[in-house]
Subunit: 254 residues, 4 copies
Amino acid sequence: MNTTETKDPKSNSTVVDTSDALVTSPDPLHPANLIPELCKGFYHLGWVTGTGGGISIRDNDKVYIAPSGVQKERIQPSHIFVLPYPQPSDVVQRTFLRKPSIPLKESACTPLFWAAFDLRNASACIHTHSQHAVMATLLWGNKEGAEPVFRVSGLEMIKGIRWGGVEGAMSYLDELVVPIIENTPHEEDLRDSMAQAIKDYPKAAAVLVRRHGVYVWGSTWELAKTQAECLDYLFELAVKMRLAGIDTDWRPEA
Amino acid sequence: MNTTETKDPKSNSTVVDTSDALVTSPDPLHPANLIPELCKGFYHLGWVTGTGGGISIRDNDKVYIAPSGVQKERIQPSHIFVLPYPQPSDVVQRTFLRKPSIPLKESACTPLFWAAFDLRNASACIHTHSQHAVMATLLWGNKEGAEPVFRVSGLEMIKGIRWGGVEGAMSYLDELVVPIIENTPHEEDLRDSMAQAIKDYPKAAAVLVRRHGVYVWGSTWELAKTQAECLDYLFELAVKMRLAGIDTDWRPEA
Amino acid sequence: MNTTETKDPKSNSTVVDTSDALVTSPDPLHPANLIPELCKGFYHLGWVTGTGGGISIRDNDKVYIAPSGVQKERIQPSHIFVLPYPQPSDVVQRTFLRKPSIPLKESACTPLFWAAFDLRNASACIHTHSQHAVMATLLWGNKEGAEPVFRVSGLEMIKGIRWGGVEGAMSYLDELVVPIIENTPHEEDLRDSMAQAIKDYPKAAAVLVRRHGVYVWGSTWELAKTQAECLDYLFELAVKMRLAGIDTDWRPEA
Amino acid sequence: MNTTETKDPKSNSTVVDTSDALVTSPDPLHPANLIPELCKGFYHLGWVTGTGGGISIRDNDKVYIAPSGVQKERIQPSHIFVLPYPQPSDVVQRTFLRKPSIPLKESACTPLFWAAFDLRNASACIHTHSQHAVMATLLWGNKEGAEPVFRVSGLEMIKGIRWGGVEGAMSYLDELVVPIIENTPHEEDLRDSMAQAIKDYPKAAAVLVRRHGVYVWGSTWELAKTQAECLDYLFELAVKMRLAGIDTDWRPEA
């Protein structure tokens, strides 16, 4: 089979394309080219070593997703899955427009990426296993009865974050609050608690997963990436500050 | 419009060029080529992640400035703004020789870069969000009544710094003093306090901005860059020393 | 001599090839091309600086091994040794299919790599001198009477490790246990204690060597590499956690 | 002038070549090609930022040296100085075979490199400003009456060091001892104390300079580089160990 048709008129069933047509483009900014390039950069930042983490990009009615369990710095455009958007977020089996011809499974983060697309109208979602994110979840909101959130204020880099990840930019005067959800043995089981955290914290630009990492999104891939960088910088700096005994709750006056 | 003329003889108003003529050169050391290359290097040093920071280069009567809010490791020469020099530093709206044809705004640091050009006759100014600079501002000159400066002495790397950033080299016997100004919600509002710090500390090669980063300049782009490296090294090392309980005020005898 | 024959029919003795035939391939995934490329990556991770560490790949009945005492980021395919597999693991002098034509000695880790091939049926084995691995051996299982193992639980990255390095994936609910053997003056003398540790800890994916580094293997080179990355991440994070006073033995409930 | 002659027969004075003949070679291992490449690598290790540090290579009767005060990651072969070897080490003005045609001064480390060539018969000498080296000089041998040396034992990486930098390899059982000399305002003034330290510690492979960095040499450029890597690893690890309260004097029994 070598076609981009997704409906077989005779059976009305979904026919999945395994050709490279949907993931071949000379444009370096095509999602199928961008995902491998960005993942290579994330690898060198220590965000996606050991096959963990990645990025999904939504281009209007198509979602591009990398395979699970592969070395993220060695992804090829031909490894990318393409899914139609929208589709129900709670389906057991997703519909695909395109699958790689070699045996690969789509990223286990797919339901989590979908929550960001559905609930925030995001166009890109990044998941990292950054140690700075994990350390933040171990030093914040981890005590009996504490609200499960990471908080920091009084740092310039907060201005790089958007309210809810997709609205107007935060100010230097604002406190950054990122909800922390508890990790589960299976990544897809995080879906409900991540969706709940997104609803409970409508102004938050990301969701931390305790002992695991972080999900960050944006209304473009550029904003997802720059917000992931700002948040990682803030997690790292806040952890250093706390370990050095510096107040992380100091807040500038308006 | 596709011209490098900046004055319209009929109206006497300023006509801004949007062609690539002023930013196209086969010379890798042309400011429009250097700025993207240097910013890529700064990105990998952790100085300009998440769109923060950058470098401006003045080539006699022209100033080259990168756009604001973009990924600094992905700047293209065609994104660079060109401004005539000199021009009043306190103007609300600056005069441009060239603007990118795509919708971009010049760096929010422009008034700060200008202060270094005007007050120090610098030919390049670098702004970083380095965590070492931020940590230095949290561990030095931060107590009630303390002089707001970072101080260190007795380290070889001090020899890489020039007095005032543009004069003779400091000696191993000298104490490095860098003033720290308080951060403000809007970057352009730092202009007056930075200008004041430059005047109050005429021998200082840089200005630290609390909870934010540092501005470093030089009489050439090479000296701005090597001084930024020396200062970042000294911020990092002094923070490590202080956290390890090592005296950072030790001073060699002449 | 320029032949790939390994038996001289007249003398029945082994004739070692010094041509480049066995290590020349246009395929970037050929072991003789992969070893140099992977070692360059390991160098930049700080795993194999100063000639230490490396990777050996077994392709069915052939084992590819780098030379000892060379800069690991500068290996050429023509430097690679090829050995037939299987062959007795305790031989004093190994049999070779191919040796470099310049005077080089095979890696001193050869008997250790062999233990992973023989006892775990591994197809690749990585040895690093990572400081995170060394710090883990100094902070875990180092007290009088303590079981000589590194232990950590409650971290997502554990899911990237396979039981025994080659079986099914570990779960987030599982505790990671890596045996630690004592270092010896000569690397080859580690062979017996490493073999014993592999037998005593049949579920362990690696063996740490106190004050030295770690050996990690996998059923493919990809799995050896991704497990080495996951383990290094866990050593680094667990050391950070312990130094920050965070419990590394916390374990999620099923 | 465009000649490689070094003696003017009419005047018997030394004629210095400013052509590129002595520094032009297609061989990537020619010292004039190696020095720029190695310095670029050292820059990314944080050893030579801000123009500090570098490497000099002696090829029998010729010594190749980089300029002083330049960005070490941007050196070109045409910037390299060539000096005849031997020549008196205490001369005020050195003899040159070749100088760059642009105004540059040879590295201020030249007398220090020369000490390693003369007193150890080294063929390469590396100087770094690594923060790990500086921290080692601040945490070891720094107390009133203490012997000014860095000491560590019981770490595998010691095996990568040669006795005196140029003899047989050290064993895992050996203690590494590196003398520390006090820094001086002018780099060339370190010459006498470095020469004295080399004589006083004939088994040492390097000399640390307090609050400054380290000089490491070897009988080849490869051994100078791999020993510099091993030493830097040991400085970094020993500092981490000491700050974590781990004994750095533990010594394995033979």
